[in-house]
């Protein structure tokens, strides 16, 4: 979700992911709810990418669902 900034920073690990826009947050909430109801995935099994893999730790840091 979002992109790491500034793009002029040549080391992508040093970029900081921007916060979600209100529209992205609405979309994310809808998506997670659909995954829950359609596939039966409980909320406690939905994770930010950096929680389950080595990633830029600012990715999706402010996302909520």
């Amino acid at each position: 979700l979002g992109k790491g900034l500034p793009l002029s920073e040549p080391d992508p690990d040093k970029r900081i992911y921007e916060a979600l826009t209100p529209e992205q947050t609405i979309s994310l909430k809808w998506l997670v709810q659909e995954i829950q109801t359609t596939l039966g995935v409980p909320l406690n099994e939905v994770f930010r990418h950096p929680t389950v893999s080595y990633k830029n730790k600012t990715e999706a840091a402010a996302a909520s669902w």
Partner: protein, 145 residues
């Protein structure tokens, strides 16, 4: 006929000497490498790597040169999103055999980059590096069991 021969001779000579000494032309040979960081911890990546673990990621000069010789060019998308990253890294400056200066970084997950003095950036991945100091190779498309 002689003019034609001279023209093609100059053309071939030009092609042989105008390389920018990048990975794209397959001739990235490092002449000298200076380490400013070795066995360092970035703290930029999520996960369980610690400063103590990263202190073990120490590259020799030959291993650094070998990385640039063996690695392939990666896209920025691959480097940023698709390839596994690591907090453990080494870095510094280098000079290519054709005299280009660059800042470099290599991480334990086999990613690296070069930032040339003119601003060009090349992202790299070395699946073929055989040193056991790196994570197991996992290039694009690989899956861990």
């Amino acid at each position: 006929m002689v003019k034609l021969f001279l023209f093609f001779s100059l053309l071939i000579l030009s092609a042989c000497t105008s390389g920018f000494n990048t990975k794209e032309d397959g001739k990235l040979i490092v002449e000298s490498v200076i380490f400013e960081s070795n066995g360092s911890f970035s703290g930029d990546i999520s996960g369980n790597e610690t400063e103590a673990v990263c202190k073990e990621f120490v590259l020799s000069e030959d291993e650094g040169k070998n990385f640039f010789l063996q690695s392939r060019v990666a896209t920025e998308r691959e480097y940023t999103h698709d390839l596994l990253p690591s907090n453990c890294f080494s870095g510094g400056t280098l000079t290519t055999s054709q005299g280009r200066l660059a800042t470099w970084k290599i991480d334990r997950a086999r990613r690296g980059y070069l930032i040339f003095a003119d601003g060009d950036v090349q992202y790299l991945y070395c699946a073929d590096c055989t040193e056991t100091i790196y994570f197991e190779a996992c290039d694009i498309g690989c899956t861990h069991e």
